[in-house]
């Protein structure tokens, strides 16, 4: 058994970088997919609404773990061997996209109906209504639930350890196996997760305050 030392702390911090990287991939991929899904959900075209709804229901009804298995092990069997980072990034993006799509749809629908009517009466077309009137207001409504979900995604990146990706949770396991100091190691891992998530909630509160006057 090795004594827990600064090298281990350093190792955990290295791994935390991967947690952050994976979270960023999931946010960016998920946000792009989520926006597309949200707009499809409120589209005038039934086929788009149905397709988006189908996707969202399938993903929301499937454990993230299964999506990870499918993209890592499943795809490798049919010939697409993805790197574990790519497979994890893809799975988390698909997963966050579905949830963000549904959250943002709610935010778009939460913008009062008369805002559509007022902008319609001023002659704005549908695209202009979205860009200048509806989405800016929906974004302000969306900040708290979106940040809440982002925090959830950061924590969900730990599932990527299952497909052999060494991120913070997996690194903690490795360090604990070497040092057998579970309380110390996992408490430290928890603190690092907190240090990643806490700034997000603070930033969210700041943003909400700043937007308040222009709500």
């Amino acid at each position: 058994m090795i004594q827990f030392n600064s090298m281990h702390v350093f190792y955990l911090l290295e791994a935390a970088k991967w947690t952050i990287a994976l979270s960023l991939i999931a946010f960016i991929g998920g946000a792009m997919l989520g926006l597309a899904l949200a707009l499809a959900r409120v589209s005038r075209f039934k086929i788009l609404r149905l397709a988006a709804m189908g996707y969202i229901q399938v993903i929301q009804g499937t454990p993230l773990l299964i999506v990870l298995f499918l993209s890592y092990f499943g795809l490798s069997i049919v010939g697409y061997r993805l790197d574990s980072l790519v497979a994890a990034g893809l799975s988390l993006s698909l997963f966050s996209g579905a949830f963000l799509g549904e959250i943002w749809r709610g935010c778009i629908e939460a913008v009062p109906r008369p805002q559509w009517e007022a902008s319609d009466c001023l002659g704005l077309n549908r695209l202009q209504q979205y860009v200048y009137v509806i989405l800016p207001q929906a974004m302000r409504i969306a900040i708290p639930p979106t940040v809440g979900f982002m925090v959830e995604v950061v924590k969900n990146t730990s599932l990527a350890s299952i497909i052999g990706f060494v991120e913070l949770a997996r690194a903690g396991q490795i360090v604990n196996n070497a040092t057998f100091q579970p309380f110390l190691v996992f408490a430290l891992v928890g603190v690092i997760y907190f240090a990643i998530c806490y700034p997000l909630t603070v930033a969210s509160r700041r943003l909400e305050k700043r937007f308040h006057v222009a709500r």
Partner: protein, 250 residues
Amino acid sequence: MSPDRAVQPLVRVSEVVKLFGAVKVLDGVSFTVGRGQMVAVIGRSGAGKTTLLRCISGLETIQGGEIEVCGHRVGLSGRHSRKRLHRDVGIVFQSYNLFPHLTVERNITLALMLVQKKPRREAHDIAAGVLRLVGLGDRLNAYPEQLSGGQQQRVAIARSLALSPQVMLFDEVTSALDPELTAEVLKVMEDLAERGMTMLLVTHEMEFARRVADLVLFMHEGKVWESGPIGEVFADPRTSELRQFIASAL
């Protein structure tokens, strides 16, 4: 013989029927509004006044009859006719419906720049001009939530006015305001009437209607129950419904 342009109606509503499901909200409504006229629509809640205005502004489709506003056919489904309609018709809502995330100036310049394609400078000048007209020349940079209800409603009027419509529709624009704020909004509307704006307004302000409107339409159960020059209709109501309404409203 072609009709004289001066008396040619800007708004022509004939035999309009509007259904909400099985409920007939408008039941064969007909009237006209001539250029420069101010027509007040009065009646109890649920008489169909607001629905009538919404049909005329193209926000609702109609199930029968015809509406023509400044030469545009209105009330049919499809956006095409509505898009052009909005160049000529301005509407002001009871709940103001300003864009809360934009400054007063941007609320007004948005459509000027996006729809009328005016350059920023010109749009700014127009916004400043219409805001002076409603007595808010110094509030260009305020956000709606920093204004009182009366001020917000005046901004909404200015926003509509900026697009230089030929007809303006007012839907109970003072109903959400206390008497003091109501007065400042009515003052703006009176100024507009004096400048010759064609106006159709749904209102509960009987005194105001009596003083300013040329014609009055009393609506009851989805029909125009009585109409005529304001003095005559108020002085000598023919139906008991209108008599009761006037008695309770004044």
